[in-house]
Structures are given as structure tokens and as C-alpha cells.
């Protein structure tokens, strides 16, 4: 766990009273969440609780139905006119979230491009960086995630863990101010989870601001500054890992953690139970 200076400045992400409805279904029911510079926020909760939807709303991959999301002080996705909100253009959305990086559960690398092209192409097209410089920066990013030697490989030639690290490099190359991770290890074989979590630990240690939706409680306990427990569309508990994992009395949280630990008990010896 790294100690970060507590920043009291304006949050990088400020979520205020956000609701999200899909038709009649209410997935988020009034979420308030602030993420400050260099903080790592881990979002946990049962599946279907709305945690991924919240992250996708912060990236504006989903349009939130009500409330406000500010990215470094700018309202995301909408403009307020006489108290009414109006959807802004895609280009304006792209401008406001230009400093937000996103890592997907399914990696979502472009299969017709090599690892290097996956990282370099957005630099050229979205940032207007010259081909040579883009390739150089892309290579440096791949080195950073330990994949300098696989730059010319196509995604199909990489393992899941390698693909996800390319996904992280692609997001990092844009020099984001915050990185959003949507269950980055959930699609991986167990033995490949560690290499991805290590890259994320290194990022956190460097002071990257991160919001991570995850089922990796060990990672949350060790790396997070704040753990947020979302249940049935509301934040049911939040605080330091110690507060959430040990102290908070919320029965739904306790049940969720109990289930998690029971699922992860791997050895039952004579009387003692080992939990990872």
C-alpha cells in the first residue's frame, strides 16, 4: 500500500446524485462519489448491483438518466440551459473525457492491428502525433507493461493477460489523468490475473488516479485508498479498506464478503481454515 498525500483540491471525478434507468429498471439510484488526484478507488459489489454501469456512466459509454458527473470541473455529456439539461455533441463528449482512460473486461483490442498499432493508431489519429513519434511512444508504453518484445504480435497471438496489458498500454499512451478499470481480470484464466494486477499496482504506486471495478478483494485491500460497496444501485458502504472489510456492519456487505471468502477457501485442514 502506498501512501499518497491527501489532496483536498477539486476532485478529478465528481458524481452527484446520478440515476440510471434502462426502461423501467433502475440500475443506479442516486450515486454520489468523488475521486481525487492519485487516489485509488475500488468499487465492489454483487453482480447486477450497478458497479459496472456506474463506471460506464463516468466514461459516458452509458448516458446517465439524472444527476451530474463532472470531470475536472466540466459537466460530462450535457449542457445546462435554464435548469434543463441538453445532450451535447459526440465531439464535445470526447473533449470533456479526453483525459479519461478506460480498460475493458474483454480487452477490446482491434484484431486487425498489431499490439504496437493498437497503441500507436489513436496517438496518430486522435492526438495528431507524427507516425514516428507515435510508434516510439507506443513502444515505450508496451515496455512499461512488460510487452516490448511482443510489439509486432496480433492480439490473437497474445495470451489474455498480455492482451489486457496492451489494453492498459493503449489507454496509458493517451496520458490520462484518471484510469477506469472495468473488471480488468474477470475474463482471465486464474494464472494470468497476477501479471495484470502487478501492472495496476505499479500504476497506483506512480500516483495514477484510478477507479477499479473488481472482484479481487486482495487487490482492493492492499492498493485502494477508498473501497466503495455498491448494492442494488446505491452506495451501501464506503471508506478505507480497513473500515469496509473489517468494521462496517452493513448486513448486505457482510453477506457479500462472507460469500466471497467461502468461495475462496482453498484448503480445509484439521480444524484450521486457510483463506487467501
Amino acid at each position: 500500500m502506498t501512501a499518497h498525500p491527501v489532496a483536498n483540491s477539486r476532485p478529478i471525478i465528481d458524481v452527484r446524485g446520478v440515476w440510471k434507468r434502462f426502461g423501467a429498471a433502475e440500475v443506479l439510484k442516486g450515486i454520489d462519489l468523488a475521486i481525487r488526484k492519485s487516489e485509488v478507488t475500488c468499487i465492489i459489489g454483487p453482480s447486477g448491483s450497478g458497479k459496472s454501469t456506474l463506471l460506464r456512466c463516468i466514461a459516458f459509454l452509458e448516458e446517465y438518466s439524472e444527476g451530474e458527473i463532472y470531470i475536472e470541473g466540466e459537466l460530462l455529456g450535457f449542457a445546462l440551459e435554464n435548469g434543463k439539461r441538453r445532450r451535447v455533441s459526440d465531439a464535445e463528449v470526447a473533449r470533456v473525457r479526453r483525459n479519461v482512460g478506460f480498460v475493458f473486461q474483454q480487452f477490446n483490442l482491434w484484431p486487425h492491428m498489431t499490439a504496437l498499432e493498437n497503441v500507436a493508431m489513436p496517438l496518430k489519429l486522435a492526438r495528431g502525433i507524427a507516425r514516428e513519434d507515435a510508434a516510439k511512444r507506443a513502444r515505450a508504453m508496451l515496455e512499461k507493461v512488460g510487452l516490448g518484445h511482443r510489439a509486432e504480435a496480433y492480439p490473437s497471438q497474445l495470451s489474455g493477460g498480455q492482451q489486457q496489458r496492451v489494453g492498459i498500454a493503449r489507454a496509458l499512451a493517451m496520458e490520462p489523468h484518471i484510469m477506469l478499470f472495468d473488471e480488468p481480470t474477470s475474463a482471465l484464466d486464474p494464472e494470468l490475473v497476477g501479471e495484470v494486477l502487478q501492472v495496476m499496482r505499479d500504476l497506483a504506486a506512480e500516483g495514477m488516479t484510478m477507479a477499479v471495478v473488481t472482484h479481487e478483494m486482495g487487490f482492493a485491500a492492499q492498493v485502494a485508498d477508498t473501497v466503495v460497496f455498491i448494492d442494488r444501485g446505491v452506495i451501501a458502504a464506503s471508506g478505507s479498506p480497513d473500515e469496509v472489510f473489517r468494521k462496517d456492519e452493513n448486513p448486505r456487505l457482510r453477506q457479500f464478503l462472507q460469500n466471497y471468502f467461502e468461495r475462496n477457501v482453498f484448503w480445509q485442514g484439521s480444524g484450521d481454515v486457510a483463506v487467501p
Binding site: 459526440d90 478506460f102 482491434w110 486487425h112 489519429l125 486522435a126
Partner: protein, 219 residues
Amino acid sequence: MFDFNLIIKSLPMLLQASVWTVIYSLSSVAIGFCIGTLMCAAGLSASRLGRGVAAFYVSFFRGVPLLVQLLISYYCLPLIGVNVPSSVAAVGTLALCTGAYIAEILRGGFLGIPHGLVEAARMVGLSRAQILTRIEVPLAVRFTLPSLVNETTMMVKASSLISVVGVLELTRLAQNIATSTFQPLEIYLTAGAIYFVINGVITLAGRFAESRFRLETAR
């Protein structure tokens, strides 16, 4: 009886005409591909107007025989004051026709693209047009390459129809030679063989591209 000398004598002229066949058919496929891409994107867009235009376009150009379309453009464009060379009108008509088929072929390819790939492109700041040209079209082409090659060979054959509106190409020239020499058998067999070779080359090129693309997905 079978006059090989006539074949040898007219072969240079036929080959020259077949260059026009290749130019007309490939350029109409190239233009048709752009039209097809736009119509496909419009047909899959959120805009009701876009979807309506695309649906009308596809149903018209697939529903009316190409020969009738060529006659319409040949006789009707001058009536509304559009005076272009008949070769231009013919290529334009071929392109519009194949564009409708290509739009339908690409639609299947577009629908096969995982939505996450587009979301990833949006998250790194690519514009709608960049996503279309750099992500969606290359992937849709890879998914539908055999059908696109098939459509191209169909267009090489369909280009023979433009002979009826007076455009000189392989079929038209073969007709001219056949009527002046009264030896249609030798000439039409030769023309047929040339079409066969052209499409053989196109099919081979398609196979080559397929094997190149397979490298990307090889494990």
C-alpha cells in the same frame, strides 16, 4: 472449319477491349464500395431519415434489372439535361447497382463487429468517421471478403451489359467483329475465355488476401 487465324488476328483488339472491361468493372466496384459503405452505415444509424434513404436505395437498385437501369440512365439523363459520356453514365449505373449489393454484404460484417471494439475507439478519442474507416470497414471487409470477391466477379460479367448503350468494351467489340466477319463462334468463345481468365485472377487475388488476413488470427 474452326478458324484459329481469325482468333489470332483479332486477339490484340479483344485484349485491348478487355482492358476497358476491367477498368469499367473495377472502377464501378470501387465507387460502389464507397456508396455501399455509406448506405450500410446509414442503414445501421440511429437516424430515421438515414435508415429510410438506405432502405429505399437498396430496394430500388436490387429490385430493378440492371439492364433496365442502364437504359433508364442512357435515355433519361439527357432528358433532364444531364449530358455525360455514355461510358460515365454506364459506370455510374453499375456502381449504384453494385453499391446496393455491397451495402447488404457489409451489413452482415458490421453486425458481426463486437460493440466493445467501437467503445474502445471512442474512449481513445477517435471520431465517428475515423471509427468507420479504421475499425469498422476493415473488420467488415475481413468478415465478408468471400462475398465481396464474388460480387466483384459478378460485376465483371455484368459489365458486358453496358454494350447495349454503346460503350465499347469486350462484349461490344466481340459483337462488332462477329457481325463483320460472320464468324461468331470463334469470337464469342475467345471473349468468354477472356472473361474467365479475368475472373480467375480476381478469385486468386481474393484467396491471397484471405490468407494474408488469416495470419492476423493465426495462433
